[in-house]
Amino acid sequence: MSSRKDFIKQSSILLGGAVLASTPFYSFAATKSTKISILHTNDWHSRIEPFDKNDRNNAGMGGAEYRAALIKKIRQEEEHILLLDAGDIFQGTPYFNFYGGELEYKLMTEMGYDCVTLGNHDFDNGINGLVKQMPLAGFDFVNCNYSFDDTELEGKIQPYKIYHKGPIRIGILGVGIELNGLVPEKLYGNILYNNPIENANKTAAYLKEKKKCDLVICLSHLGNKYSGDKVSDETLAKQSKNIDLILGGHTHTFLSEPIIYKNVDNKNVIVNQVGWAGLKLGKLDFIFNAVNNQLTLQKHQAIHIDLFA
């Protein structure tokens, strides 16, 4: 495959510190370092099958089967993996209309997803339609800015979850977009929307300070950025504290590389998003140095699933 394009960027980004120059991975071999790969998708919108051959833009691209194979391959190569999704798993092909998200959750469970947050379209069959499929999901749901009190979702969605990968402790929280005006009221029922920035900061502080997480990830369905003052991953990143990485969705933004913002403490926050429809799998490799407890983004890729390439 001589035409294969390999745009792996080698510069590394130190979390909570300066952006470092290019450093190859092997230089870490001597220190007590651990690598963790964060794999992520967003807005895959029930795209079970690859786009059909007549599709003008994405013919032959995507497809859950090939994503599963790709993830399986990565699992053979990497020791520590977290597989995450930033919402809008549901809606977009007849698979959702007919099976209500059943196959989407089964496939994600098979692929070994660890944690997801909710997008607006995940409510398209109502709270009831979501709750009905949740027993099929072998992964966690996080959101810290919706109140689920007095709804069927009460107790089924946690503000955060903590994962351990080797010596690394990772805290994951989720934030969701304002549902009013976006989702018919009868579908989201009594779910209350609360300020995502306040709640994300509160949850992140707890994860970083009380729970001593080395890496705090926010799964966000707020959208990458807007021209107005609407809250987005950009505004969240800039006003955040204790969040290292924001994996976003909603705006279907194809970022060719992650965006680095400075938070209120002038520390780096990485924001990424990989478009939609399961066309790409994001892969962010972090190196954890146990000597100084520093995490560094070593390499990032957006792996494009293209059967005709």
Partner: protein, 249 residues
């Protein structure tokens, strides 16, 4: 650092600053294909097949032939024109009152293009996947004008051929409905979906509706039925951009 420069340049050319929800996926990162994977996921394949076989039998039905490639665009796109014009034809003999025009939300069209060729039931599901009902909204002229101005600010919206307007300085002008100059002092009957009828997707003036008449059919099912009938009559689907909504610089 020298080695990095060409890579960064490539990023500069491929980077997309404005989100393109339905645009072509960019070439950043690496591509992976069936051959380079060298691994298959049999379990996933089998799982999908179980669902796919049943679904294909329902979704594979050919409704009619589409004569040209259609695309979703603003201020006006052939795909949006097609949808709104065909919905007008669908309701024509189904409602007693004369509908003035059809208006749809750009975001409600969920595919970027519809290729020339046979249109299947599955394609219509992708075009309009939501369970949105068709609805007719009776709106006073002043609210209509507010709605048109809002559409102008947002760069246009899909509409049927009965409505023609120009967008100038983010305002609607030269508005004609059924070849008659738009009259702020009368009411209009607008065909749309229930999401827009409720003022969703930047259509707040719809909340001033005088009357709302729900048509008990999903947009998707209406289109399927309508295109199936068209196919039975051996008619092909025709649509194009005709300047019904135009931005004047």
């Amino acid at each position: 650092m020298k080695k990095l420069i060409p890579i960064l340049l490539l990023f500069a050319f491929t980077q997309c600053h404005t989100p393109k929800p339905y645009g072509k996926a960019e070439l950043g990162g690496i591509r992976i294909n069936k051959d380079s994977l060298k691994i298959s996921d049999e379990k996933t394949h089998v799982l999908i097949q179980i669902y796919k076989v049943k679904l294909d039998s329902l979704m594979g039905e050919v409704l009619c032939f589409n004569e040209q490639d259609l695309s979703k665009q603003l201020p006006e796109g052939s795909l949006g024109n097609m949808l709104c014009d065909e919905l007008m034809l669908y309701v024509k003999d189904k409602v007693e009152k004369k509908i003035d025009f059809c208006l749809y939300n750009h975001g409600g069209i969920r595919i970027g293009s519809l290729s020339k060729g046979n249109i299947t039931v599955g394609k219509i599901y992708e075009l309009a996947p939501f369970d949105n009902y068709l609805e007719v909204v009776e709106l006073d002229g002043k609210s209509c004008k507010k709605l048109f101005d809002l559409i102008a600010q947002n760069g246009g919206a899909p509409c049927s051929k009965e409505l023609r307007m120009k967008i100038q300085n983010n305002q609607a002008s030269d508005i004609f409905i059924n070849q008659q100059a738009f009259d702020e002092n009368r009411n209009y009957l607008i065909l749309t979906n229930d999401y827009v009828a409720a003022g969703g997707d930047k259509t707040e003036p719809m909340k001033n509706a005088i009357n709302r008449y729900k048509i008990n059919v999903f947009v998707r099912d209406a289109m399927i039925q309508h295109l199936r009938d068209k196919g039975k009559r051996k008619e092909a689907l025709k649509a194009m951009v005709d300047g019904r909504m135009e931005i004047i610089k």
